[in-house]
Structures are given as C-alpha cells and as structure tokens.
Symmetry: C2
Subunit: 411 residues, 2 copies
C-alpha cells in the first residue's frame, strides 16, 4: 500500500460528500474533536431552540406550553424521529429517562416475557451500566436470576434453554467492535431467548435496522452521535409484538392511558407510550430533538461510508507513522463502529498530552486510547493532525510528565 | 370580618417583604399566573445560564466540561442546595431522574429495609404517579405486597404490624391539604413502618424539616415551587442512617463508587450518591440549579408568611364575592400548602373561561378549580383580579360556551 500524505487526506476532504455538514455544528477553533462518541458536538441550531423554548414558550406561555407547544408529545415525537435512524417504525420508540433506566424497563419486561428462564447473558466487556442495571434488577427480584458474562466469541455457546435474554451493546464502547445484529439475534431467538440491543454507540453513526433484525428490545443514548447535549434523554424501542403484553415496572403517570384523569389505578397507555414514566425534561428533550433533526437531514449510507473511510485512514496512518501502539479495534470495517481504539501501557498520560495539544479523544481504563470519528463534523485533515500529534508525543516522550498523570474525576 | 377592598390588597402589596422577588422572574404581561404549583415561572437568570452552558461550556469545551465546569457534580451539588430548603444536611440529597423514578428507588429501598412486612400504605387521593409506581413495583416483585389506600384521616389506623412503609405527599396536589409531618412520621415509625414523604408541592413553598421530622425517605419535584423548568430533574433524600445499608435497584453507572474504573461489578458509591443512576441531563439540571439558587436567596419564613396571607386572602375574597363555589382546601392555614382549591360541577369550563381572560389556574378532575400561590411572584393585586374575573364569569354565566368544554391533552 502506498504511503499516505497530507495531500491525500486533503483530497479526501475535497471529495467528501458530507463536508458541508460540519457547518451545522459549533466547534472551537484549534481543537480536533475525536470524542463525539462520548459527547456529540453542539449543533448550531440548538442554542436558539433552547432560548425559544425557555423564553418564548416557558416564559411566555407558561403551563399552556404543554399543549400549545407540544411538550406533552416530546417523548413520542422525538422517539418517532429516532425510530427513522434505527430502522424502527412510528409508534415504536419513545425518548425518555436515561439509558440505564431504559435498560431496567427492557430487562424487566424481557424477564417477564420469558418467565421460565433464569439467565441474562451479556459480554464481560459490555458498558458497565448495562451490567450494573442487570445486577440491580436481579438483586431486587431476590437473586433467582443470574447474569452470565462471557467474551464476545463465547456468546452463541453461552445461550441455552435457561437464557431469558441476551443483552449486548451493538458497538463496544472500548474496542469499537460491532456485532452483526441479524445472526446474533437469530441464534439467540433460536434458543428461545430474547434479544436486547444497546445502541448507545450506533444510533446516528452506523446503519441499524431493528425491524429487519427481528430483535425484541433496544435502548440507546441521545448524547453521542445524536448530538443531543450532555446527558440528553435516552430512548427505548420495543418490538410491536411485545408492546402490549404487559406494563413495564416503572409505571409512572405519563405512561398511563389517561394521565390527566388522575385515576388511582395504573392502566397502561397503548403501545410504546407505556414505556414513558415521569414528566419529560423539556429543555434537554428539545436539545435532543435539535440533534436528531440534524441527523435526519443526512444520508445514513453516506455517514457510514465516511465513517469507514475516516477510521480506515486513521488506522493506516497510525501504523504508518507511529510505533508502540496496538490496534484494539477490528481491522475489518464491517466489524467496526465509528471509533478506533489503540492500546499502550501509558495510555492515560499519552491521552492527556494529546488533549493538551488540542486533540481530544479519551482514555478508557486500563490502557486504551479511544478516538471517535463523528462523520458529520470530523475531517480527514483532522485525522492527519491527530496522528501527527500522536507521532510527535510518542517520539519525543513528551507525555511523560507529572501533570499528564493527574487523574480527573471524569476520564 | 370587614369587607376586603381592592385598596386593602394594594396595601398588602405595598407592605410585602418579598415584593422585589417578582423581578427575578420573567412573567408575561396581562397574565395572572396561579399555576406555579404545576409549572413554576421562568427565573430571569435561567436563559443566560442555559446559553452559557450550551454555547460556552458544551460548545466551547465539549467533553472537558464534565470536569472543567463541574457537570459531573451537578446531582450532588444541586442536591446539597435543595437540602437546605427541606431541612436536610449536605450529602443527603441528590437531584436526579424524575419524581416517579425516585419514588421507585425509595419504595424499593423501604421494602428491603422492612423485609418481613407486606403493605405499602398511602392515601387514595395521593398524586397518582405515587400509586402507579407502587403498583408497578408490587407487580415486579410478584404481587406478594399490597398497596393499601385509605382516606387521610384513616392513615394512623391503617398502619399495622404488616406495614412496611407509609408513602404520603406532604401537600395534596388536589386539595392543598398539608400533613403534619412530625406526628404522622412518629405514629408511623411507632408501628415499625418507614415514612416516605413526597415533597412535590412543598419544596420551596412551605418550610420542611426532614431531619427534625425523623422521616426515612423523601422525594420531590424540581419544576413547581423550585422553578427549575418544565420536567426539571427531581430529587431524593435518604436519612443518613439508611443510606449505606444497601444499594437501590436502579444501580446505574453514576451511582458506582468508581464509575470511570469501568468495573464489571456494581459497587455502590458512599452515601446518597448511590441513588444516582444514569448520566444527568445537564441542560435541565442547570436550569433547575438556577431556580434553586433563586429560592436559596429568600427567607423561607417570609415565603410561608406571604403564602398564608395570599391563600387566606383568596379564600376570604372568594367567599365575599362569589357564590356557588365550595372550599375544598383546609381553612386552617397550618393545614394548607400554598394553594387553594374550589369545587364546582362546571369546574372545567369555568377554568377555561378564566384562562381565556388571562387568569391561569388549573382544573383537576372531576370538579376542582385549583389555584397555586407562588409567594415569590404572585401579588395581592393578582388575588383581587383573579377573584374579580371569577365573579364576573360566574355571574354572567360566560363559562357556558362550547369552546370552553373542549378538552386539551393536558388539563
């Protein structure tokens, strides 16, 4: 393979069909932002939308805004929009609560759908909140269930006649490894288990076809590739065939069929609306909607093409320019999400040194340098600059300073 | 008692020690807002705080903001501030999730603290989400527990050796009736049951002394008298003596002792932080903080004095000026929160007619006109104008029009 030059990457930017999308975001000067998989960037439209909701709606119309400005419909309206990004239909998704809380709803529903079975299967390397929520639910239910944690390649063998549900994150948060949704779902269901996907690192970044996959449940995050803002509300999808079988346990008033009848007994709303619990956080929800609206204006196939090109180019350049780093992410693009992870024993101070130079990725314990490539605003020139910085830091050993070893609260 | 005149109320405004507080809010012209118990008004500081967080922090510092701008501390920081408004100490409250979700955490914890007991006692007239959440938890736990609903005056007799927890809303959402927290808590605990208070209609409006009450758990709402914005995050308090006995079931990653260690097993954080679940919705949380900061600058005793004066005056004026309305709220101020409810068979169209004239209260099914008096921005002149409008509408029968009978999604 030929040597990649800065010019080659400039040509890729010139040919980028999504190049104009970057103008839809506010990005600080002098920063190369490769952490959109942790917190997506600020859409240019969001501050004015927030101001309009705060000043125009809340300030101007007060309580009337629940009807007049459709606040009450936000969970369903934003959910329907997210559905279009993940291969789901209208009335199948609501935006609500956090990913963790939605996992609880989905897991509780799955155990109830499969009452004779005792085991939740997941990956040991799944994002911890998924595992913690399963552990909390199991403890609440009296420890009759078991969380069986295995390596990714052991999953098919770990699913048996006692497995109620398999809970996997589509794209792994640390490695970027992506499961093939259809065969995993099929082999899970062939054994009578239900399939729950966490789309935290997928929605908005890679094509997802929930309906086509035949999955049972999905949850996902609003503040990564959906650019919904820090701690944005999450979403939950339930296959229509399961939605009305029973209510989920977080049966709050806005999931009631008639919340404003103020009846003492819970009667679940029809369809996915019963997965809403309390009152939606309108300001955060409106920012999420702005991010989702932006994504809906883009071509998901183009997003995926650019994502693969960015991550391929980054891997190639790192291997061309830098020594001492091991590729953790799959080399094969079809098995990789929109991020690349590299291993180095000194990953923490190296990442701090990069950040000090304006190249923002993140560290994942114990030894991972993680770089996310949000195709809507990352340029090929950014890939060049990031690798050039990494090369210099490694070559000069300039990461090896005490200030780069200070651990922050959030790493 | 002498007849109250418009002048009398003008004098009350002139003598109002909290009169200046109204300038801290944005309120639309021509509106008399008596629904701050449903959605508090917009603090003047909030739009700029939101813009600063969106543009300056999210847009400017991206992921670094979690440390640089203390986003990660928001649940504890805002919780500590709310604690000062409800008689709790630092490290005893977190702001998180919705009231409904926090009720689930508290109820699950209470049942686990009192494992030999089977019954949750509550009021039939409690806010429905409290009852629905109890019903959802009971269903999840296999229906071994029972939700026993009684009238307020029957509560002491309903608590017995089988009662695990008594769950009450301090100020009733429909009637405004306020429980006397200390004796109810004592008589509950004397029977070995735990006491859970919902402070949705109390926090920021009436003095609350959780520590002095000896209660076990409390939850509350951020978007009523705390003026935290539509669907603002809620809060949860757990008595320090219970905090570390076990983890709550919604064991999300931000309640972990070391969330960024990404361990596969859940280990709860020390103290109240284990009641945090997922990532906080920063934009909504910052708006909540702005509302709470405003309340912290005020004297709670003065707030209560004005609240009693407003509600007393409203009751007196309604009885002086209007016929055909029955007082639902307690007449005795010590038994009443910061709202007044009136009964009329045609409450729905009457309230719509009021709203059409710019007097905003709300309707609660089946026959309640509800008026909230937020002491920080409601004036005695507003009380006069509201009653004058009500009088005219009733006298002229002008509520009796088809357009006032159209039911909105949110009533």
């Amino acid at each position: 393979m030929s040597v990649l030059s800065r010019d080659d990457l400039a040509k890729m930017d010139a040919a980028d069909e999504l190049a104009a999308a970057r103008d839809c975001f506010v990005l600080p000067d002098g920063v190369i932002y490769l952490d959109g998989n942790s917190l997506g960037a600020l859409p240019r439209a969001t501050p004015d939308r927030l101001r309009d909701v705060a000043v125009g709606q809340w300030g101007g119309d007060l309580i009337k805004s629940w009807n007049a400005h459709g606040w009450i419909d936000l969970p369903s309206r934003v959910g329907d929009k997210i559905a279009r990004l993940i291969g789901a239909g209208p009335g199948e998704v609501v935006a609500a609560d956090s990913t963790s809380v939605n996992l609880f709803k989905a897991l509780a529903a799955a155990l109830r759908l499969n009452p004779g079975r005792r085991v939740i299967v997941s990956e040991r390397e799944n994002f911890p909140t998924d595992l913690y929520i399963a552990q909390g639910l199991i403890a609440l239910l009296g420890r009759q269930h078991e969380l069986r944690l295995v390596e990714a390649h052991e999953i098919p063998a770990a699913v048996d006649h006692d497995t109620a549900v398999v809970m996997l994150t589509h794209v792994n948060y640390r490695t970027g490894a992506m499961h093939d949704m259809v065969p995993v779902t099929r082999s899970t269901q062939a054994k009578g288990a239900l399939m729950l996907w966490d789309l935290a690192h997928s929605a908005g970044a890679v094509p997802v076809d929930l309906t086509g996959s035949g999955a049972d449940f999905a949850v996902g995050c609003g503040y990564k590739y959906l650019n919904g803002g820090p701690g944005a509300p999450a979403f939950i999808w339930v296959a229509p065939r399961h939605q009305e079988k029973f209510e989920q346990p977080l049966s709050g008033w806005l999931g009631h069929v008639a919340p404003f009848a103020f009846e003492p007994g819970y009667r679940p709303a029809a369809g996915i609306a019963r997965y809403i619990c309390g009152t939606p956080p309108v300001l955060s929800m409106v920012a999420l909607e702005a991010g989702v609206d932006l994504a809906l204006g883009m071509d998901m196939a183009a997003i995926r093409r650019k994502s693969v090109a960015l991550t391929d180019t980054f891997i190639r350049l790192v291997e061309q320019e830098c020594a001492g780093l091991a590729l953790v992410s799959p080399r094969e693009p079809s098995r990789r999400g929109s991020q690349v992870c590299l291993r180095h024993d000194e990953a923490y101070p190296i990442m701090q040194a990069l950040i000090a130079r304006g190249v923002i990725g993140d560290f994942r314990a114990p030894d991972i340098l993680r770089f996310g490539f949000a195709p809507l605003y990352v340029r090929f020139a950014d890939v060049w600059e990031a690798v050039a910085s990494l090369k210099e830091i490694l070559a000069a050993g300039s990461w090896n300073r005490p200030e780069f070893r200070v651990r922050a609260a959030v790493t």
